[in-house]
């Protein structure tokens, strides 16, 4: 039997949740105060994901740095791979919110998109 300890992020209470697992399957969730806690714990132990946000370089626009995000949550263990995949990206202005700056981040199949508009014609 494997035990996983988690802090629930649902509210400031921050319940310490214990998840008992057997052969990769959840057997029991304890320590949560409300159903949200159980739901969070199940997700967190089976397929934890995060929305990764970062920035990329932009040229010919009115700003220097373009903020970007993963369009969907990426697996937690791919966070760094995704961040690193953005290192070599430099896009050209103009850019609209939602424009794809990277089609498939680190083999996740998840694209990164712009979260800011950039006008072209700037000197930066």
């Amino acid at each position: 039997m494997e035990k996983r300890e988690l802090i629930c992020i649902g509210c400031p209470l921050g319940c310490m949740i214990t998840v008992n697992m057997q052969d990769g399957k959840v057997v029991k969730v304890t320590g949560n105060t409300c159903p949200r806690g159980e739901k969070y714990a199940l997700k967190e132990v089976t397929c934890p994901t995060r929305i990764v946000t970062s920035s990329v370089g932009v040229s010919g626009g009115d700003i220097r740095v373009l903020s970007v995000k993963a369009r969907e949550a990426v697996p937690k263990d791919k966070i760094f791979d995704c961040a690193n995949a953005l290192k070599s990206i430099k896009v050209a202005a103009p850019v609209r919110i939602g424009d794809i700056v990277l089609k498939d981040a680190a083999g996740t199949g998840i694209p990164f998109v712009a979260t800011k508009n950039v006008k072209s014609g700037g000197t930066l």
């Binding site: 802090i7 629930c8 992020i9 649902g10 509210c11 400031p12 209470l13 921050g14 105060t33 995060r50 929305i51 990764v52 946000t53 970062s54 920035s55 370089g57 700003i63 220097r64 740095v65 903020s67 970007v68 995000k69 937690k76 966070i79 760094f80 961040a83 919110i97 979260t115 800011k116 508009n117």
Partner: protein
Amino acid sequence: MMKSYEIVIIGGGPAGLAAALEAKESGVDSILILERDRELGGILNQCIHNGFGLHTFKEELTGPEYAYRFIEKVLEEKIEYKLNTMVMDITQSKIVTYMNKTEGLVHIQAESIILAMGCRERPRGALNIPGFRPAGIFSAGTAQRLVNMEGYMPGREVVILGSGDIGLIMARRLTLEGAHVKVVAEIMPYSGGLKRNIVQCLDDFGIPLRLSHTIVDIRGVDRVEGVTIAQVDEHMKPIPGTEEDYDCDTILLSVGLIPENELSNKINVQMNAVTSGPVVNESLETNIEGVFACGNVLHVHDLVDYVSEEAALAGKNAAKYVLGKFDGQEAPAHTVTLEAVDGVRYTVPKTVNIGRMADTVKVRFRVGNVFKDSYVSVYYDDERVLHRKKMIMAPGEMEDITLDRKRLQEYPDLKKITVKIERE
């Protein structure tokens, strides 16, 4: 001839934008937003992480995306705004003096002013952190601007003091950019940040959070070379013998925000010592008639959604004020004071004119400690009218109650509304 506007909004961040839109919606056309930065959106432009807008848009947006939802409408509505423009002065007669590169120093006449200047970060000096004063000490927000808007890294080996949300967010951001965040020290026995940020910004990356710890020494003459942190006792005094040294080249401070009320002070707006923001009535109007306040200049918020909601109300009321709709519709003035006691640090608003209030008025407040399984209670004079159980309340999360006009009208002699936390 001085140019005039019906409503002048100082600050084009989330508060100013929402106020402007609602004022326009309420029928005012002559609106001017004055923004000191190079673009609208305020601090949201550097908050590139997600988590904004769950309440307002029922989806999670990044800061720039959230801002753009409002900016887009401001553009559509053709609301006038000026960028790179600093407001230099305001007077009680509502003359606003601003300055920029193209127009120079300009005086304009406003009928109503909405204060939406936001807040600034508490600097190191305010904490009396001893040690040297080398390069490499940044407030978390300054570092955030450098990284997210200018594209520069403040350092490689980082220690963060204070577990406010900006500090936590920056811990993750710097980690993803290749820096090594060694520890986050928090002087309080609890974090001021959201649980989600502690888990997703610290725990995910194995960054330790040391509660009841503070920095007691900073080393390095030119650039930061290291810090010493120590545990503090219940009076927040460092406990000798608990010192630990960390080598680092950077210190980020995330130790609190202070509403920026220098302009408000120029016209003697009455201030609340707890919030460092103006004292306002149910209409978010200050003691200076026709001057309204909203957003972080009024009191520091943790969710931008609440800022937008509050600012819309200020915009609506400013519109009512200039359109003369505050007069006539109202019953005789009946003003009651809100008192914050027993764990409640303050309330916004501070007074309610029952004659003039909308059907409902939201009263926002913060608690001064972590309360578990306690009750938010509201008293009309000595009568308890609300007793709501809350599993958890923490200083980092704003609470609210709603006042109902019809109900209040049943108390013609009411003098005081008290908001408090009760154990049972």
